[in-house]
Symmetry: C2
Subunit: 500 residues, 2 copies
């Protein structure tokens, strides 16, 4: 089985077991691993490292593409293996360790990690663990269900361990498009001019001498767990689809819109599903994660093509996609995340970005990461890469959380991930606020009226009106801007404030 997957003679002699691989790591090492939103991650080596740490403790810095699957992030945190983790995570155990201050976490634009490494703004990688479906004659590797930062890690790491995953269908060969903007100071253009532009190679080049071992595994990616659409998320989708239908009628957009990007989470997934209902045709995606809804859209005939950095689907869709891969082969491309998320390409193509907020303020600033300004949820992911450079930047959120105890439209967000400059449209189940061409005071009225939950509207309006009396470009009463968080802490709900 492994034979047909290792075509490089010398490398075929470097197969080791996961335990041996785990023994290469030393305390304080900087380790990089493939993996992007649970796909194409290290399944064998990092698990073996967790095992080793039970009796032989060590601490590493771990960088990846995005989140890992199989509870690996949690297991690493529980084993006290992590000193520093970047650039993204979604694990409950790791999240707690981060918020408790036990694990340091750098929350980073996903398009930026490779650039920071190349600019010497981060310590050198000691070992990179890269999942591959196949090793080619020249030693180059075919990635699996994600590309993530693997190409940059391969180029920049001192040593490489390849995790050859025999469970991944070799049908995947040809789906990847590996290219790099080059090294400073001699970088060149990224020549992508359409979502389906192919500008690179199908495999990641590897310096064979750096490979210190090949570990075989047949563990599959963890399936995505996506909550189904409900009334609330369907309402959000409906408002947004209605908006696009109107823009088409006005002649601002064609039925093909512009290339779409959609963020992670249940709200974004439901919104993308909503596009099946719209009057669209020949849609394309230039996104990060290809989710279940991407394949529904492809099947519906409305979506022609999808470019991303990973395929992250549920158990059911994994079979659907990989058992019929010929159907999708020519309709998807997986790219390195510094290419899928490149400002250059996002702006050039004119991507319509749809990302999720935890909370938005009345002026249109967005918090996607920090609960009550302090506790990390997941991370900014690629939302900033897309929102900043988008043709149209949409943020979606439910108007309330925790059964109404929390309003997601607030006077002032408790943490800013996306400034008002980078937010064109806000949508909740209540309605849609079109903020294009509006100054802050105008934005506030529309956000409160169209997006806030009715039970919080008068509170927000009262805050805004009194702030305007004091004046300013962005009127605020700093001494009470965060009162609702205090109420939430002390009384368990933001709502009390309103009726007190």
């Amino acid at each position: 089985m492994a034979g047909e997957r290792i075509l490089h003679k010398e490398l075929s002699e470097r197969i080791i077991d996961d335990k041996k691989a785990a023994s290469f790591f030393k305390d304080k090492m900087v380790v990089a691993s493939s993996g992007f939103t649970k796909s194409g991650d290290s399944k064998a080596v990092l698990s073996a490292l967790v095992q080793r740490a039970q009796t032989d403790p060590l601490k590493i810095t771990l960088m990846t593409g995005a989140s890992l699957g199989h509870g690996t992030d949690g297991a690493l945190a529980a084993a006290k293996l992590l000193h520093l983790r970047l650039p993204f995570q979604v694990d409950t155990v790791l999240r707690k360790a981060i918020n408790d201050g036990e694990v340091l976490f750098i929350d980073q634009h996903l398009g930026e990690t490779a650039n920071l490494l190349k600019a010497n703004n981060f310590p050198k990688i000691d070992i990179a663990i890269l999942e591959a479906a196949k090793i080619q004659e020249d030693g180059s590797i075919i990635p699996t269900t994600s590309v993530g930062n693997s190409a940059a890690f391969a180029a920049l790491a001192d040593k490489i361990i390849i995790e050859l995953n025999t469970s991944v269908s070799l049908d995947i060969i040809g789906v990847h498009d590996i290219c790099s903007p080059g090294e400073y100071p001699n970088r060149s253009e990224i020549h992508i001019v359409e979502a389906n532009s192919r500008v690179g190679t199908i495999a990641i080049p590897i310096e064979v001498d750096k490979v210190i071992g090949i570990v075989l595994t047949d563990k599959k990616d963890s399936p995505a767990e996506i909550a189904p659409a409900d009334e609330t998320t369907k309402a959000i989708a409906k408002h947004l689809v209605g908006f696009f239908n109107d823009e088409i009628k006005k002649g601002n957009l064609t039925k093909s819109l512009m290339p779409l990007q959609a963020g992670i989470g249940k709200v974004a997934n439901a919104v993308l599903n909503g596009f099946i209902e719209g009057d669209f045709e020949n849609l394309t995606m230039y996104s990060e994660v290809l989710q279940d809804s991407t394949f529904d859209l492809l099947d519906s005939g409305k979506l022609n093509f999808a470019s991303g950095s990973s395929i992250t689907v549920s158990e059911e869709y994994y079979h659907k996609v990989f058992d019929n891969f010929d159907k999708y082969r020519n309709k998807i491309i997986l790219r390195p995340q510094d290419i899928s998320n490149a400002a250059e390409v996002i702006r050039r193509l004119g991507v319509i970005s749809i990302n999720t907020a935890l909370e938005c303020d009345i002026y249109g600033n967005v918090n996607s990461t920090h609960i009550a300004g302090t506790n990390m949820m997941n991370g900014i992911g690629g939302s900033g890469d897309f929102a900043r450079n988008a043709y149209l930047s949409v943020f979606v959120t439910q108007s309330i959380a925790k059964g109404g105890k929390i309003t997601s439209i607030v006077p002032m967000v408790s943490h800013v991930d996306h400034t008002e400059h980078d937010v064109d449209i806000i949508v909740t189940e209540q309605g849609l606020a079109d903020l294009r061409g509006l100054a802050p005071r105008q934005r506030a009225k529309i956000i409160i009226e169209n997006c806030a939950h009715p039970s919080y509207r008068s509170y927000l309006l009262d805050y805004f009106d009194r702030a305007c009396e004091r004046g300013g470009q962005t009127p605020h009463l700093l001494e009470e801007a965060f009162d609702i968080y205090k109420d939430l802490r002390e009384k368990g709900t933001m709502a009390k404030q309103i009726f007190s």
Copy 2:
């Protein structure tokens, strides 16, 4: 005099006076004007419009490249001519009108205005007023001391008024490099691979039929008023130059560094001057505004080349530059601001950006625009375009303002323009905080220790320590995060807090 400057026969017959030009404007019109940080702005037509409004009131939306000179922005505001202004301003009268809510203001990334217009995210321009040094045979115009958004305005406006400025030396011909990334959905790469790459034409194409008048003027640009370097700004420059010298020693950078960008204001200008003292050679700039310090650096032999969108210099330097233009001709290029500030190019070249903060918080978030979170100072300008995409993003500020009544290092910035993701280095006269590769809790310690004024350090440390007890990725005590602003409002100083 005008004859040699209008080579297009038909257009030479469309000369009108400023009063006539002013009569073309109607209430509610969307007006665009050339002008970038006081350079190359409309000097005749907008002034005539102010005159007209004394007896014939009207309100317009006015967009420009950046700020206007000659107090024009103030005069427009005083004449109650402005309904909405974007994307930048620096005028005290206009600023007051904005903060009083009399004029709506959209504070915008300067690289973004042209893109928003092309994406139909802003109403169409009725009339564009464009300053030119010369009209060529084909009707195309040679810009003057700035390019700003003039090329986009020319392409997108319904009607055009050309302000032919006979005071601008014709020596300036050839300095501009006009190119456009094209129209959606068929945009292409911006082929700039070095600060001195020339990729366009020397003139802005004009559809001759759109030109409704040519107004002659010989008014010069307003000179920049730049406060001289003092002990504090010199100390900031010294820390930063020391940092770069160290990076060169470590092999992270060469003596040519990477292309430099420097923001506006006295601090940034002083810092750039400080580069004359460093052990640098063959420097280049890929910036926005070419200030006095740019020409000092060129004269010093340390700087080989400077690309920007405007030349904004003091009276003395205006003569120095334009009386000896042959000396500088091949060392500077002026570009459209969606090119000088393009994410694509900034990232490709690996620009080192140096911008100014009003305040930074202990986690590295930066406020460059809003005094106490409410009142607009100038605007974000190009700082976001550069900081987000830079190879290395530096922010400079004095550690205190108003004689110590205000600390510029605060627990939580009262407004966020640049999130911690986009800030690598913070420098005050106290020292430099190198935040690369650090998580928020690590950043806090270094920012407080290295950058805060000694009189505020114990207050900040105490806040941070108590916030850490409560926990979180970014520990905060929301209920007291803004206490110092309350003190400033009520007691006139933030300092009281500390000793109470």
